[in-house]
Amino acid sequence: MMKKQMKNTQDISRKDALKKIGSYGKYAALTAIGTYALLNPKKAQASSLSSPGTGFLNRIK
């Protein structure tokens, strides 16, 4: 199978980059403040040694 060669030879300055994305650059501020993380604590107290599906505990010796 041929491996596709991607070569990026085009250097672009920050100014040119901003020009290229035009008005979309402005919305980066909205994207930034719209990034958040939701964190849900466990709904009940749990132990860690049995997990879902662990029905049996086997004693070896």
Binding site: L30, I33, L39, N40, P41, L57, I60, K61
Partner: protein
């Protein structure tokens, strides 16, 4: 839109919000938190969007869409569905005869715990076997554990506590532990701030929590530290109270994985002959080590959270980490009280904690560093 209860706390350059309706925390940019506050107060969307548009120099239409999206996400109109995760009530007759009846003594409190068969016994007993005493006529609390129609039932002092199916055994064990600490420490569920999946040690004056993913070495570090002058307060299940935000003792044994035996056998030769248990689905083989705590009523303040990681050949590093990072790791792995007052106390308590990441391979260096953290010498 009906106002909902939200708490806000600024940490570093972010705001953490707590939503009472879902007992959910969100890490937000400060600007976003201000928008949520305004939305919750009923300020019109156009007005909020106009301010945002001016502030960020973005078209009003884009701001409106943004605020509408936030409203949709954080203030859903539909009634949130009730998720019944762990506790399915099923009518079942309580057995008259139990195959195993064990008596456990925790300080001076005796618990009589009846298990219908060895299966029920296996879910609870191994972690508490070091507390067993001979049969006594006087006991303060009576627990009954039995399986009926594929549900495991828990009764405490003749009161039905709950029933759990085969997939929720870890919640049964969690509830069992919760009932136990409530009886030991004379507290109700609302008196607890949370229960953390951590290991807790003390130097007699204060406590420290070790956190991290399973397999990172929390319990092994705890075992090493308890052999070097520190006291084990709790392993795996660490309760913190709401009133004084102190770490409370939990009397279960320390679970030692097979991979840690080589390190620990020279210090704890008794592990050689200790019973071994195989958690097949988790691919874990463990032995239980008796904690060195001789006062299971002990409770101590905690100012330090340490995300600990044993890494073969690693040079010891211990650095303070951002509270936001620590918060994001801590919350999904913890049970946190859904009570508003307790959520506020939790946020305030967390604000005052020092959070560290400690990576090590040399045990002596780890013990020295933990001592320095305790002594505020880092």
């Amino acid at each position: 839109m009906k106002e909902i209860t939200i708490l806000y706390k600024v940490f570093e350059d972010k705001t953490i919000s707590w939503f009472q309706n879902k007992n959910e925390y969100a890490v937000l940019e400060n600007t976003t938190a201000v928008i949520l506050k305004k939305l919750n107060k009923g300020i019109p969307i156009n007005e909020i969007a106009k301010t945002l548009s001016d502030e960020l120099d973005v078209p009003l239409e884009k701001s409106i869409n943004f605020v509408l999206e936030l409203e949709k996400k954080f203030f859903p109109q539909e009634n949130s569905e009730k998720l019944e995760i762990a506790n399915n009530y099923k009518n079942a007759e309580r057995p008259k005869d139990f195959e195993f009846i064990k008596y456990y003594k925790i300080n001076d409190i005796v618990f009589k715990i009846s298990f219908l068969s060895d299966k029920e016994l296996s879910f609870v007993h191994p972690k508490f076997a070091h507390l067993v005493i001979d049969e006594v006529p006087d006991f303060k609390n009576e627990f009954e554990v039995f399986i009926n129609h594929n549900y495991i039932f828990l009764y405490v002092n003749n009161v039905f506590i709950g029933s759990w199916d085969n997939c929720n055994i870890h919640y049964f064990q969690g509830k069992f532990s919760m009932e136990l600490i409530q009886k030991i420490h004379q507290k109700e569920e609302n008196d607890w701030l949370g229960v953390f999946h951590a290991s807790a040690i003390s130097n007699g004056e204060k406590s420290m929590l070790f956190l991290g993913d399973s397999g990172n070495g929390k319990s092994t570090s705890l075992a090493l530290l308890q052999a070097n002058g520190f006291t084990c307060l709790a392993d795996d299940f660490v309760p913190v109270d709401a009133k004084k935000q102190e770490v409370y003792s939990f009397p279960a044994a320390i679970s030692i994985k097979k991979s840690s035996l080589e390190t620990l056998l020279p210090i704890y030769p008794e592990l050689e002959t200790t019973a071994e248990y195989n958690f097949k689905r988790l691919n874990k083989i463990v032995r239980y080590l008796k904690p060195n705590n001789n006062d299971f009523l002990a409770h101590l303040p905690c100012h330090d959270l340490v995300f600990i990681k044993y890494e073969k050949d690693a040079k010891l590093t211990c650095k303070k980490i951002s509270k936001i990072d620590a918060f994001q790791q801590l919350v999904p792995d913890s049970w946190l009280s859904p009570k508003k007052e307790n959520a506020q106390i939790f946020l305030d308590w967390f604000e005052g904690l020092n959070c560290y990441q400690l990576t090590y391979s040399n045990n002596e260096e780890m013990i020295k560093t933990v001592t320095e953290i305790f002594n505020n010498d880092l």
